[in-house]
Symmetry: C2
Subunit: 151 residues, 2 copies
């Protein structure tokens, strides 16, 4: 049976890949609106910084805008190892992102983060329903975030 | 159109919920085999501890067995806020888990972790293809893992 347009797995994976790439461009261009255009209104985010979770597209937009302000100059975003698994109306993807740049305080940022994204298709459009971004932490008693790891 | 058995969304979500509950029971019983019985052979895990990722069911089994050994007595696992989104052959779920227990060194463990799980259905069976477990870290200059947060 030929699947209807937009329900083919290859098409879905291509659509999701395009969303992730566009989101990356949004980050590089410090364009919070572009990034959150891919979020569902009730997106649930597990982010690098506390709290444990953030809810809602508007919170996401504000947090991105605040984060962008901490950079002096461009943000480098390299998306690697992207794997996408799409089913009908639900999909997930994960990748390892290399984030680089210089903070307003002149500190060099250069670290790799793990990213997992859950997608839901609503009215024919794939939206990010859930996002989880993290680094591990050292279990040597320091409990320090492992920001120096590379894949 | 009536979906075929096992392809109904409610059935899928119930199957996935049962897997997550059984996995939790595996943790409580320190039964690594029971936990990893739900993993795909090529599962990719983003875990609390370095490295950035672990690959494969056997690595997962060994890491769980090592982790269980660090506990003196039972491990408490409370799964909260579970949300499941199932499509045909792909699904994702996320929740906030409360982990508690006492280490062999007598240290009390009591913390909340964020969990995201990606599922793939292969030959009619849902398996964990991807798992992401983390805590955020403090951006106050300490870079310490935020193990004291509650939902």
């Amino acid at each position: 049976m030929k699947a209807a347009q937009g329900t083919d797995r290859t098409t879905d994976e291509a659509e999701i890949r395009a969303i992730i790439e566009d989101y990356g461009e949004g980050l590089r261009n410090k364009d919070a609106d572009r990034c959150v255009s891919h979020y569902a209104d009730d997106v649930v985010q597990f982010d690098l910084a506390p709290p444990l979770e953030n809810r809602g597209k508007e919170t996401a937009r504000q947090n991105l805008a605040e984060w962008f302000k901490t950079f002096d100059g461009p943000i480098g975003v390299e998306i690697t190892g992207l794997k996408i698994l799409a089913g009908t109306d639900a999909a997930f993807a994960y990748c390892m992102n290399h984030i680089s740049g210089t903070s307003k305080q002149g500190q060099k940022n250069d670290h790799w983060v793990r990213v997992t994204i859950g997608f839901q298709r609503t009215e024919g459009k794939w939206l990010v329903d859930h996002e989880h971004v993290s680094v591990p932490f050292y279990m040597d008693g320091s409990f320090r975030a492992a920001l120096d790891l590379t894949p």
